[in-house]
């Protein structure tokens, strides 16, 4: 639907119906003092053919690099059917229609999505999605403070192994409500359980863990979950939903399971697309559902007893509760969630397991090849999922530049986020990476580490 179907006649008919001369006149009520005559530096509008040509030209300058970067966004293969179906007119809307009498199809898709997420996470109730993984985490923190009134605490214990962007975004959103994220130190790439004793006398509304964590390492989620519950905290799980095809569901962590699971849905059928749009997912236990933000679709029966779908538990939301709503995010990422739902339906449980396993195997084979090169070692002695941190004997930046010159996005330089780790490079190989691509990466890296690449590319 890359065009707007209104003809000039349609537009003038609509304008004359409401008694307005032209589109500009619709904005008359904005005071002149607030309007700008033009935008400096923005050129005149182009026609469709011109803009299309310009965009192709600009996109071409990116090249077609092979991606070994992860850190929260992953280059998984998206079957053609996913976006072919998602972009059908029936689904392709900028806004999710919620009227039950007009939107049964859309509502059913969201309901199916919620059911899939509840199954993946092993928890009771999913919402219809939030903006992205980081904001979903921030909302989970706010929710935990509301839901855990007994703790009377506005502190949340967060390991340093949680995605740095997630911690920053959550801090920005929740610090205004005097909620504090307290750092739990890390040791060898995982949360350091040996220092938990230091927090014995503090009360937390929640404890957080990311599984696999930012580095791709597996945390001791059972021990952390039990520690949290024993100390009166709720447990927030952040998980890559694809990893849940292989790993234990948050609902089964420890003796009682996590209370809230959240994360980014991008790995499930959403292209990396320069960082978005993605979507955040959130699932929780039934007991605290009234503190969950976002829309929830429920299944019910109509007056004739026929099954149907409708929004439910709306009294939590801002159009009813106003300033005391659970959140002012009362929308969802309808289109990408539709894509994810179709992706999961196409792949099935077996397909998701295969994608996850192939990603783990490819990353292991990449790491084995790269660490055979002199000057490249593994940073941590941990079991990892689909990404792993390597240590180089020299700064990572120039090495990545040399790889990029050969069409390889070699990974993420962690020095900005974790300077204490030294020359740390995080690499990821999804199921989309071929043996030949891994071989090429290894060959180029071998050259770079031997000094050739760095010399050649300055």
């Amino acid at each position: 639907m890359p065009f707007i179907p209104h003809t000039r006649d349609d537009l003038s008919a609509m304008l004359s119906r409401i008694g307005v001369d032209d589109l500009e006149a619709l904005f008359d009520e904005i005071p002149q003092s607030l309007t700008m005559p033009g935008l400096p530096g923005v050129p005149e509008a182009l026609c469709e053919a011109e803009i299309s040509s310009l965009m192709h030209e600009r996109a071409g300058t990116d090249g077609r690099p092979v991606c070994f970067m992860g850190a929260g966004s992953y280059d998984h293969y998206v079957p053609a059917a996913v976006w072919e179906i998602t972009t059908r007119g029936e689904f392709y809307s900028a806004y999710t229609p919620y009227q039950a009498e007009a939107s049964q199809g859309t509502l059913q898709v969201i309901y199916e999505y919620q059911t899939m997420m509840a199954e993946l996470t092993g928890l009771d109730v999913s919402n219809a999605s939030l903006y992205d993984g980081a904001t979903a985490f921030a909302e989970a923190c706010l929710m935990a403070v509301r839901a855990n009134r007994k703790a009377k605490s506005r502190k949340i214990l967060v390991p340093r192994t949680v995605h740095p962007y997630y911690r920053e975004v959550a801090h920005n959103i929740i610090s205004g409500q005097d909620i504090e994220l307290v750092d739990l130190p890390m040791q060898d790439g995982v949360a350091d359980l040996s220092v938990l004793d230091q927090f014995e006398d503090e009360t937390f509304a929640a404890i957080v863990m990311q599984q696999p964590n930012f580095f791709g390492n597996l945390e001791q989620v059972d021990a952390l979950t039990d520690w949290g519950h024993e100390h009166g905290a709720l447990v927030i799980a952040i998980a890559n939903p694809l990893s849940l095809a292989l790993l234990k569901a948050p609902g089964s962590w420890g003796s009682e399971g996590a209370d809230i699971a959240c994360g980014d849905g991008q790995p499930l059928g959403v292209p990396m697309a320069s960082g978005g749009p993605y979507y955040g997912y959130m699932v929780c236990r039934q007991a605290i559902v009234r503190q969950m933000p976002g829309r929830i679709v429920g299944r019910t029966v109509d007056i004739d007893g026929k099954p149907g779908f409708t929004l439910t538990l709306q009294a939590r939301e801002q159009h009813i509760r106003r300033s005391r709503a659970t959140s002012n995010i009362c929308t969802n990422q309808g289109l990408v969630v539709t894509a994810s739902t179709i992706y999961m339906a196409l792949m099935g449980a077996t397909g998701l397991r295969q994608v996850a396993s192939a990603s783990v195997n490819n990353t292991r084979s990449l790491v084995a090849s790269l660490t055979a090169i002199a000057g490249v070692t593994q940073a941590f002695g941990q079991t990892s999922f689909n990404e792993t941190v390597l240590l180089l004997d020299r700064p990572v930046g120039p090495v990545l530049d040399a790889l990029a010159a050969e069409g390889i996005l070699g990974g993420v330089d962690l020095s900005e986020f974790y300077p204490e780790l030294g020359n740390a490079l995080m690499v990821c190989a999804t199921e989309s990476r071929t043996a030949a691509q891994i071989e090429k990466y290894t060959a180029v890296m071998t050259g770079v580490m031997a000094g050739e690449g760095v010399q050649a590319h300055g």
Binding site: R149, K150, R290, A315, R316, I320, R321, R324
Partner: protein, 131 residues
Amino acid sequence: MSEIPEDLKYTQDHEWLRIEEDGSVTVGITDHAQEALGELVFVELPEEGQDVGKGDACAVVESVKAASDVYSPLSGTVSDINGDLADEPEKVNGSPYEDGWLFRITPQNEDELEGLMDTVAYEEFLSGIED
């Protein structure tokens, strides 16, 4: 016309108070309030032992069409809550003055009871609203 028992005190937020023999005060919402809200589907109560100030939002009654805060009519400590409402919130509709009570407070300052309405005053207050 909604039911307004004579042995209770009332607030302008449509809450009722019963002063118990042990000096504690039981709080609920009036027949008028439950009728205006419609069928309740969820009641969120304060924690036992929680200190509340007069006017603090300390409970929520949620119906299929609205969710409303319940304000503490007195300062004090919550001494008891009606745990039955977790599974049967509709008791507030069926029996707003008996089985549907919400929470009990040990008041900190008996003087705060002075400003409350009696049956006659609440009846007048209601007819003022309904006009």
